[in-house]
Amino acid sequence: MARALRLLGLTLRWAAAHPGLSSFAPFVPILALWALLAASGLFPAVFFPGPMEVLRVFGTLMYKGVLPDYLEDSVIRLAVGAAAGMALGIPLGVLVGVSRRAHRLGWPVLLFFQAIGDIAWLPILLIWFGFGLGTMTFVIVYTVLFPVVLNTVLGVRSVPLELTRAAQSLGAPRFHILLEVIVPGALPNIVTGLRNGLGYGWRALIAAEMIVGTSGIGFLMFDARRAGQVTEILLGMIVLGLLWYFVDGWLLVPLERATVERWGLVAR
């Protein structure tokens, strides 16, 4: 045990000394700790399988093609939901942001519908659409939509007055002001909204897949739960975590870096 602890300390220090690796390195000691705990027999193996076990199941599911299929289903649902949510949310947000009347009427309604939350819609959606793609799509679009709309509104409203004035006195017509000043000015908030929306949306997806799904990572996990397969549940969780890491790291962060950060706008 003492040796294991020393090893742990060493890895920790090594990880801290290599900041480039530091986003992956910390998982090494955790994996070690996990393996150690599982091997120690402190918990029954059915409830707490080790990493090797999860890896083995990963191999099996990959080989059978179940995991790639389910992953594809989930990712496509999320992508479609996000695209539709943005396509609806940004124009709606701009409208509510620039028009005082639309804002007065729309803002409370938006807040209320956002507060109901995606998952509470599931029962009535099931009555309307049954257990199918309609329900799932509605839930995800709904979830992504509101953070995007609300943050777009906020972004539009925080575009400095001077910038619109500058554009006006340079002869820009209304439409161009919208396109070249308001929307880019709101972009930091739009990106934040997209981030929040995806964060919520993808949790909603998992919930929807658990409750109504016939495929997808959420379904995989819940199906495994019915069969008492802890290993598959853990695998599902790891896949979900990694998936988000990649979406965030390969999509959202570069997007932010190329626009908001380059322009010197404060993000977050």
């Binding site: 001077e162 004035r165 500058a166 006195s169 000043v181 880019p184 380059r262 322009w263």
Partner: protein, 254 residues
């Protein structure tokens, strides 16, 4: 002749916090002739920005009228270029993108407007920075872009509201000298608002002094100093110092 004529202009705000009426500008009349460089000075809060914003068309006057070239001012338009204290550059456009914004709005084809843009960037000494973003420039450079952007639209009247107030002292002097040079080369009509008396006298052909709030015209003084104007000799100049002292006496009565 494209003259600016202002008659009996007043502005009263409704203060949303206190619910009270605040008169910022009271019965101001003045004229600016084409090619003139006019400074407006006054103590802080006397309504200089209010006056300029009304001329720019950003806010409506409460009373009185503003005529540019015989036509009443109804809103903002490309005939009046504005240079802002906060620069107000579009952060998501490159320097060239900012400067060519006005011509683009007029429908000038890309090649032509980029030629115009580069010409004006050259005029303000920023030919090398065309591809950079505003956030990558110093404050002084940003305001040079602001000036170039307004000029590139060839406005009848250039409105400047304390454009050099947020740059450091040395840069400010350089920018002031550059502005007088640009004015001499191009002869735009300029209305320049500031609370800095030395700046007002240094730049202009004529200085309009406003009273403390609510702002009224206290005096109009011609500035018969020779051009080109350069700080080094001028700070020691007796006429310059006398004029500054006179205006200062009106802005801050003892």
């Amino acid at each position: 002749m494209k003259n600016l004529i202002i008659r009996g202009l007043s502005k009263t705000y409704l203060d949303p916090y206190a619910g009270a009426h605040v008169t910022a500008i009271a019965d101001v009349s003045l004229e600016v002739v084409q090619g003139e460089f006019v400074s407006i000075v006054g103590p802080s809060g006397c309504g200089k920005s209010t006056l300029l914003n009304m001329i720019a068309g950003f806010i409506p006057p409460s009373r009185g009228e503003i005529l540019l070239d015989g036509r009443s001012v109804k809103g903002p338009g490309p005939d009046r270029g504005v240079v802002f204290q906060s620069f107000a550059l579009f952060p998501w456009k490159t320097v060239l993108g900012n400067v060519t914004f006005g011509p683009k709005m007029r429908g000038v084809p890309r090649e032509e407007r980029e030629r115009i843009g580069r010409e004006y960037l050259g005029l303000v000494g920023l030919a090398g920075a065309a591809g950079r973003y505003p956030a990558e420039l110093s404050g002084g450079m940003q305001q040079r872009v602001g000036v170039a952007r307004a000029l590139a639209n060839s406005p009848d009247l250039l409105l400047m509201d304390e454009p050099f107030a947020s740059v450091d002292a040395q840069t400010r002097m350089t920018l002031q000298e550059e502005l007088t040079r640009i004015w001499q080369e191009r002869r735009p009509t300029i209305l320049f608002v500031t609370h800095d008396v030395e700046e007002a006298v240094f730049l202009a052909n004529r200085v309009i002094v406003l009273s403390s709030a609510p702002g009224r015209v206290l005096a109009e003084l011609p500035v018969p100093l020779p051009r080109p104007r350069v700080w080094a000799p001028l700070v020691e100049d007796r006429d310059f110092k006398a004029l500054v002292a006179r205006v200062l006496g009106m802005v801050r009565p003892a």
